[in-house]
Amino acid sequence: MQIATSSEFKRNAHDALADVGLQKALARSGTSFIARRAAAVAALPEFEALREEARAIKDHTLAHLDFYLEAYAARVTAAGGTVHWCTDAAEARAVVLAICQEAGARTVTKGKSMISEELGINEHLERHGIVPVETDLGEYILQVRHETPSHIIAPAFHLNREDWEASFRAAHTDLPADRVFHERRDILTEARSRLREKFLAADVGITGANFLVAETGSSVIVTNEGNGDLTQTLPKVHIALASIEKVVPTLEDCMSLLRVLARSATGQDFSVYTTFSTGARRPGDLDGPEAYHVVIVDNGRSGMLGSEFQPMLRCIRCAACMNHCPVYGAVGGHAYGWVYPGPMGSVLTPALIGVDQAGLLPGASTFCGKCESVCPVKIPLPNLMRHWREREFERHLTPVGQRSNLALWAFVAKRPALYRALTRVAAFGLRSLAGRRGRLAHVPLAGGWTAGRDLPAPEGDTFFARYARAQRAGRVA
């Protein structure tokens, strides 16, 4: 499980602003998603109507979540699949490990999955002698570099081309010295050929799920690379990981959400591969897994139902909010310190790991409102961040004597420093971002981004070297 450093947001943000490579990556990537989304939205007159519908479908489903989960599970079972209900991360890890062990698995291929990051599946498998192989291109390079994703749909958002080349040369030690990586295509070709072997050798394939369809008992994945499909088609066992709020009633409901998902995410009209998996290989089939498992995980989400944070469970993980966020654009995803960055992370993370750990994140906002205005399911993100800040404020007012929890006591003991950090974060957001035209060309250290490659390496560790080490330490702890 990722060790959260969300309580260090201020320091993380400070380091991120001084990280030349990161700033170069953010400057390059910042606007491309925004422009592509805008073009896709402009080309679909019904987009606003679809957003309203997407919101309504999610609200309807959440209001009847128990019913739709049971209906979904019954369909999976009828199609020959197995449903595993898991209340928390530890239970989900144990279930996944048991399935892999029963299959005699030595290697497991993985499709990109944020819930897998949240649950800490890879570390758990490794600890038990099973090798997980990330197959999404961005996730693969991060696994090679022992880093975590910095963005929910473009995990290697923080890397530059030279980082890819250096990591491949370090990890693929049999590469001839004269092998060139002049083009992005060369990097892609190298990854494709390396991962082909892994796809063919894997005993189990683990994917996430963008949606679970109650009508049919299907898990749905959306990818551009095709890695998720190879992951769930070639091994003899497929495990789909999904949190409880992924369920939708019907195929029609799912299509309405898919119409806004890709446009909001990458600005595509539709992703290349949208695949519905329903049970295991059928009689006469020439391919497909022999066993199909769905692991449905709560891990803190049911606690959001009925609270002011329930709308956050509408999230379809498109990443539009972080793509349009000036704070994310300035500090990148790792500064948020846990699995989910950007505005959606600032609301979700305190709910999942506790406001004592992540109480600073809701302050990482300029309250510009851009995130809410692009969210395809109309989550009032700035308002929800405000709710967290109010809660955080109330916590600080609660007399220490009424608390029994030692962790809370420790938190309060640090209160002056945290309070200062909180206000400084807010101030930092406003001071460095508001009123400036662009994002990255204007933050400290600006002026040399295009020449970033030629700048001398900063002294000491970069933020990411330190971050990566912390993650590795977390793994063995």
Partner: protein, 226 residues
């Protein structure tokens, strides 16, 4: 009761606690089951509300917009030449694996004796695969490829070049119309249904689009008939 059963109950209880209610009363559950059975449609973008010829043209244009290619032939007899020409133009070998589907078995390949093929699922060594298309969706140039013994999923994934033979009268406007075809003709949900829009790609390296990630680098649609 097993541990798994306990967790299921605990999760459903936690959800109901959040929603501040007990399991749904029967009349409400009935209404939701009726909604599942009726699967009502929502907003369908106007762009695909065309006559059939317009939908076929929109489908082809969208496949090309998504970096696929399309060739139209009058009937199945035109398929061998179309495939041979495509393979030659792309410098691909004249050898492929093809879906064991009756709609493709009807093709007479004898006019192109140099083409060699086998029926079945794809292997990693196959450079070219030919799939039988179930439906084409004009809205976004998307192919619906459901799995079946005669439509192996690996044909969509493993080869360098994926070729899909699709009857033009199987082109519909919106996704919902393709799902209705599938419901009507297949009864239940197949094990795997892929909606494929163009060849595989990645934007993971510096957020710049590169074609040819893990799936096929090329996607070619042979549209048969009017």
């Amino acid at each position: 009761m097993s541990a798994a059963g306990t967790s299921k109950d605990a999760m459903l209880t936690a959800i109901r606690r959040g929603l501040r209610r007990r399991p749904l009363p029967e009349d409400q559950a009935f209404a939701l089951r009726a909604r599942l059975a009726a699967h009502p449609r929502h907003v369908i973008p106007a762009r695909s509300r065309l006559d059939h010829a317009g939908q076929v043209a929109l489908f082809a244009a969208n496949v090309e917009k998504e970096f696929g290619s399309v060739v139209r032939v009058d009937d199945l007899a035109g398929v061998p030449a179309a495939v041979a020409d495509y393979l030659a133009a792309q410098n691909l070998p004249g050898q492929f694996v093809i879906a064991p589907h009756p709609g493709l078995r009807a093709i007479d390949w004898s006019s192109r004796p140099l083409l060699r093929f086998r029926e079945g699922r794809a292997e990693a060594t196959d450079a070219v695969a030919i799939q039988h298309g179930f439906a084409g969706i004009a809205e976004t140039g998307t192919l619906m490829l459901p799995s079946a013994p005669e439509r192996p999923t690996t044909l969509n994934l493993l080869a360098e070049a994926a070729i899909v033979v699709l009857a033009a009268d199987r082109v519909v406007g919106a996704y919902e119309e393709a799902w209705d075809l599938l419901r009507a003709e297949m009864g239940g949900m197949p094990r795997n249904v892929m909606l494929v829009t163009g060849p595989s790609r990645s934007a993971d390296i510096e957020q710049a689009l590169e074609l040819g990630a893990h799936g096929p680098r090329r996607l070619h649609v042979v549209l048969v008939g009017g």
